[in-house]
């Protein structure tokens, strides 16, 4: 357990020192969302209607944008090789890196989301649901993304391929995330949607590190 915490601490320290990458996803999220009032027009009713979808789509794209640094820099400078050789189960190493990735991208998105929801005039009822879906759903984005990031390690300029691989897999997260907020906004019960979203994340938790670990091992062969 302790070595895994060391890996998370290392990744967090690197993220803080290299600040830019973490900020990039967050700034992308904020900018994309602020584009919508400019593009669709400042009509409050329309903005309130599209707010949950806009927030989630922007979060999805922001999370995807940050995926390439999950393994890529460690792969290029040989650190990934050393991590695999540290004697820890490779799945555990991958999970530690996913947790660090979530803490530096998913979590800042979660914190920024309510402010952007105000900007989009989202109905007050939806805020709790928004925070809950982000809290439950963003870990799934990091988990699923790790598979794509690991598979594209040996591909030159794998960024486009990565998005083609990962975006379709993000669709269920998007659907249940948005439907939970929509339900709450319309005074309906958001719980079933939240439970389905949670089920998705819980299913990803063992499966994605396992699959990503297999892809990491393959990339070092």
């Amino acid at each position: 357990m302790k070595p895994l915490i060391s890996i998370i601490a290392r990744d967090l320290r690197l993220a803080v020192r290299q600040g830019g990458a973490t900020l990039l996803a967050l700034v992308f999220f904020v900018l994309t969302v602020t584009l919508f009032p400019l593009g669709v027009g400042p009509e409050p009713a329309i903005l309130a209607r599209i707010a949950p979808g806009v927030l989630w789509v922007a979060a999805l794209l922001a999370a995807m944008l940050s995926l390439d640094r999950l393994f890529q820099s460690d792969f290029e400078d040989g650190s990934l090789e050393q991590l695999v050789l540290s004697g820890l189960p490779v799945g555990g190493v991958v999970l530690a890196k996913i947790i660090a990735h979530w803490m530096t991208t998913g979590f800042p998105l979660l914190l920024a989301a309510p402010f952007l929801a105000v900007l989009l005039n989202m109905n007050g009822e939806g805020f709790t649901a928004l925070m809950l879906t982000m809290l439950i759903g963003t870990p799934a984005l990091s988990l699923i993304g790790a598979i794509g990031a690991a598979l594209t390690l040996t591909v030159r300029r794998g960024g486009v391929l990565l998005s083609l691989l990962v975006l379709p897999l993000y669709i269920p997260v998007l659907i249940f995330g948005v439907s939970a907020i929509d339900a709450a906004v319309h005074g309906l019960n958001a719980k079933p949607h939240l439970l389905l979203l949670a089920a998705l994340t819980v299913a990803c938790l063992p499966l994605c590190p396992w699959a990503a670990a297999a892809a990491v091992k393959l990339s070092l062969d």
Binding site: P3, I7, R10, D77, G78, V84, L85
Partner: protein, 202 residues
Amino acid sequence: MFQGQGIACDRGERRIFSDLDFSIAPGGAMVLRGPNGSGKTSLLRIAATLLGAADGRLLWNGSEILADIEKHRTRLHFVGHQDAVKGALSVWENVAVWADIRGAGDRCVDAALAAFEISHLADTPAQYLSAGQHRRVALARLVASPAALWLLDEPTVSLDAEGTACLRRVIADHRAARGIVMAATHIDLGLDDVELLHLKLP
């Protein structure tokens, strides 16, 4: 005792070497020699379990290594072509991070930096280091956490004469403590009592 029996290696569709036997006793050192492309790196990566052998068995004290890969990985250090040094971290942190992940804590980090004469760089961010200093940081990891088996792939690349002398001393200490070294190198490291393994082009 680290042994390989009938090791064969395929890269792509091509067989690089086959039927390779070696055996290194505790305190022993084996140097791999051979022209470019003869499979020195591949053999070291097979010994590190990064690469699967096409055929043959790897044994540690008589027991099959592939039966417990993670255990084997905890007892080895692999220094490859890439230094795994992060520019954003200081020299001290770069060494300490790996000792910490390998569960050794940071007790031996200062000794490791001293062994490669980079103590004065401890607080310098690694991005300002020269290639040779980078390599010394990578090699300092050998000392910072204990491991019985050292697999060194061209460890002297970009090292100066003093750096090579440091490496020679560190390897001698490791062997005195019954450690095993397997290295691919073109220059003479000046080690005593070395076994040579000659690899030929396929």
